[in-house]
Amino acid sequence: MDKAFASLSGAVAGIEDGATVMIGGFGGSGAPIELTHAMIDRFLATGSPRNLTIVNNNAGNGHVGLAALIEHGMVKKLICSFPRSADPRVFTEKYLAREIELELVPQGTLAERIRAGGAGIPAFYTPTAYGTELANGKVIATFDGRYYVQERWLKADFALVKAHMGDRHGNLTYNKAARNFNPLMCMAAVVTIAQVSRLVEPGALDPEHIITPGIFVQGLVEVADPQQEELLNRAGAQYP
């Protein structure tokens, strides 16, 4: 069993127009920038993928990664908790021009909805957002005298994640707080593609230390020195 792709372009080749794509990371930490840029490369060469629904905590920063994906007009809808950043202009302008749709979800609810998608739980109840406008139109129920909002699972066709080490079976570890949404998104997508800083052979990772078991990963690709969104933005980068 070898789930490794030889190239970034090969790794993102299967993503179709109209797909729902989860992109890991919290801001730049844990954001799979190289995989995201590979989607842009393919779009610029072929016109696909487009009309994407993207799930991410944020809405991009500056002109790289997710922001660049939005800037190139590839994103139809964004499901996120916090569409602000140091430089959120790309999203903001498209949103105010009604060129992109936004589904705003509280951060913990977003995480739990993604986990639920991965765990086969179609709906759950949470106290979060009860009594607020983000609960409008949702089923409300009481348990033990307290009010809760029913939330639905969130699934995706693809998840793109950034991991630290990965073996050819797809077992993954992460670097520090770059873990964030990545392990959850691995669970919730039909096809999860991970970029890893080091690709190793099965057996090289201690079974006790694996954060994402390989069953949740369908493909991986080595990006030995991944870029950090924060540093790219400080340098005023834009993609391509």
């Binding site: 069993m1 765990a119 050819r168 006790e208 694996i210």
Partner: protein
């Protein structure tokens, strides 16, 4: 001439349908035998619901690690690429549709895909374990079983009379006499022992066997049943 497959032979037949690299959960007991009969060159990854992916053979007697057991509470070993996880993650794999196939035993399987394999009725102490979870979520839920009970009654039935484990969940049954798919609420015969007539097989089956395309011969090598 084979009149009926041994358990090992049923397990062998089921193993032929498991693809290389498939993620597989084998039920406790008889289904565990399936792991022994993977065709050469194919390597499935076995999941045990207590929290291991890619476990393998037990170490020698006396050198077991009793923290390293499978769902049947037998000592196991690890293969390269194994991973540990807690029960909620383990059943996320099960319920979330991440397993390619689950192979389970059965008391009864109905033509509508219902399965009864956890309880023989209200007496004694009821125990369910992971059976009701495993029948949901795996992309394919298969059953391996003798074709009839010890006293000759059909185990493949029109409707289950024993307490259900799951509703409409089984898609293929490997028995001691035949391989039968469940499609659109019907048993569809795929393979049977060559020596057995369709009439004889039907007589030992509690619901109509439908035909759809050619019936293969169920040919299995001689295997010892231990």
């Amino acid at each position: 001439m084979t009149l009926k497959l041994s358990n090992a032979q049923i397990a062998w037949r089921a193993a032929q349908d498991i693809a290389d690299g498939a993620y597989v959960n084998l039920g406790i007991g008889f289904p565990e035998m399936v792991a022994q009969y993977q065709p050469p060159g194919r390597h499935a990854i076995f999941h045990t619901e207590n929290g291991i992916l890619n476990f393998g053979e037990a170490p020698e007697k006396g050198s077991e690690d009793w923290d390293l057991i499978n769902a049947g509470k037998k000592a196991v070993g690890l293969k390269p690429g194994a991973a540990f996880f807690h029960h909620a993650d383990s059943f996320a794999m099960v319920r979330g549709g991440h397993l390619d196939v689950a192979i389970l035993g059965a008391y009864q399987v109905a033509e509508n895909g219902d399965l009864a394999n956890w309880s023989t009725g209200p007496k004694g102490v009821p125990a369910v374990g992971g059976a009701m979870d495993l029948v949901h979520g795996a992309k394919r839920v298969a059953v391996i079983t003798d074709h009839v009970t010890k006293d000759g009654k059909p185990k493949l039935v029109k409707r289950c009379t024993l307490p259900l484990t799951g509703v409409g969940c089984v898609t293929r049954v490997y028995t001691s006499l035949a391989v039968i798919d469940i499609q659109d609420g019907h048993f569809v015969l795929r393979e049977k022992l060559a020596a057995l007539s369709l009439e004889d097989l039907q007589a030992q089956t509690g619901a109509t066997l439908h035909l759809s395309g050619p019936i293969g011969d169920l040919v299995i090598p001689e295997l010892s049943d231990d």
